[in-house]
């Protein structure tokens, strides 16, 4: 870790996991049933908050990464941050399980996490593209470590949402610094960067949602929302939506 944009990958079989938000059973199922056949498993962030097994979930994914760093990618989500942990449960969980002083260690871990990777010409990022980001390579120049993150482009990579009925970047109801990205800027970004699409999480959906004629795929892999936990399985050219 320590690089905001990981090296691009081209693999035969990859699995993409959306927000798990402490759903360690979903992560365990990915490990038990999909890890073995996959050359690469990409986790799109939001491992903690909204449940009480964030420590275990994060630990399981981290152990997968340590066992085979070329095979597991852990991207940062907006919940890997002191902006959300005090309000959505992770700080309380860490305090209870490990003592409040231990949270500092998680903070340090989160602020060094990568934001994005391109896999088989799909940009994988927690939330989406950012205003004033024209080239994927610019992500590589973002500063790390970044606490919240504070860099406005990094922040948007973790907080923005796609909306195909608008153009440009429109201020989001999520708060200052977050935006909705429209069809025109998304199409232009994909074209300029020779990308097939964007794979992201961040929004509560029943497993999956496609926007912009399937160019932006949202995958959500939690349990707390009471709907399906989805994962994407890319097998050469074929993208399959699987519910866990």
């Amino acid at each position: 870790m320590g690089r905001p944009l990981l090296e691009s990958r081209n693999v035969g079989r990859a699995v993409f996991v959306g927000d798990t938000h402490t759903a360690v059973d979903v992560t365990q199922t990915v490990l038990d049933k999909y890890y073995e056949d996959a050359e690469l498993v990409v986790f799109l962030g939001d491992y903690v908050d909204r449940g009480n097994t964030g420590v275990e979930n994060l630990g399981l994914i981290a152990s997968m990464f340590l066992e085979d760093p070329r095979r597991v990618i852990m991207l940062r989500g907006n919940h890997e941050s002191p902006l959300t942990n005090p309000y959505y449960g992770f700080l309380d969980e860490v305090t209870e399980k490990l003592g409040v002083a231990s949270y500092g260690g998680f903070k340090e871990f989160f602020q060094a996490m990568p934001y994005a990777v391109v896999v088989n010409d799909y940009l994988c990022v927690h939330a989406g593209i950012a205003a004033s980001l024209d080239d994927v390579s610019e992500i590589a120049a973002l500063p790390l470590p970044d606490l919240n993150p504070d860099n406005p482009v990094a922040f948007q990579l973790l907080w923005n949402d796609p909306r195909d009925m608008i153009e440009g970047f429109v201020p989001s109801v999520r708060g200052e610094g977050a935006f909705y990205y429209g069809s025109d800027v998304t199409q232009r970004f994909l074209q300029d960067n020779s990308l097939k699409g964007i794979i992201r999480g961040h929004e509560v959906v029943d497993g999956f949602r496609e926007d912009m004629d399937g160019k932006v795929i949202t995958v959500f892999s939690s349990r707390y929302h009471g709907a399906s936990a989805g994962i994407l399985v890319l097998d050469h050219e074929k993208m399959e939506q699987v519910r866990i």
Binding site: R50, N78, H79, L83, T84, Y87, Y88, G89, W159, D161, R163, D164, M165, I166, G168, V170, P171, S172, V173, R174, G175, E176, G177, A178, Y180, E203, V204, Y224, H225, G226, A227
Partner: protein, 228 residues
Amino acid sequence: MRLKGRSHGSTWTCSACGAENDEALQVCSSCGGDRAGDLALPQSPESDTFEDKLLLPEPSPEPVDIEEEEKEAERGEPEVPFQPSTIISSPLSAIETTPLPAPDPTFQPTPEPASQPMGEGRYYLVFVNTPAHSLVKSKVPIEFDVFPVITIGRSPENVVVVPDQEVSRKHAELTAEGSKLVLKDLKSKNGTFVYDGKKFEQVTGSVEVKPNTILKFGTGTIVRLVSE
């Protein structure tokens, strides 16, 4: 401070429309909104916690949960259960045609129903964002020939019903004055806003809005006024 989407015994209250739901449900039976499962943010009163919201260093005016205030003001009014009656396909879209015995080459089928005035644009509102997630991307037809005044608000008697606790029961109105569209804020508690390309500007009184403008009601509902 009342916590939204929290269970109290065997039911929970929907944070989007206020309906009571059975404990076993995870989605509101009234509006389809997701159950908010977390504690309300300490500085943010009863906002929809399903969507991550930021705690701003310099917060914009805190949204007022107007339900309690309005209930007091309108005491005595019968409770009307929420029905998302406007989120339906256009009543003009179901056109029955009798099959012709042989095609008439001179017959020019009208794509629009006969009651639609010629030369006038058709409009609809599309939800860009709102707490009831199932409504995002949905379209509500705006038909001035049916409703000269398009009322917008949280309560069911509006032409456009917005199941959002931060939207006033009577929030705003859209009218057509010739080819001009006019948006009027009805002294809503949390404001009506028009996006000017850079930011959302608050509307006081009435303002002309061009087609394809993005509007915001309260702090959580954004729509686009689209012309066909």
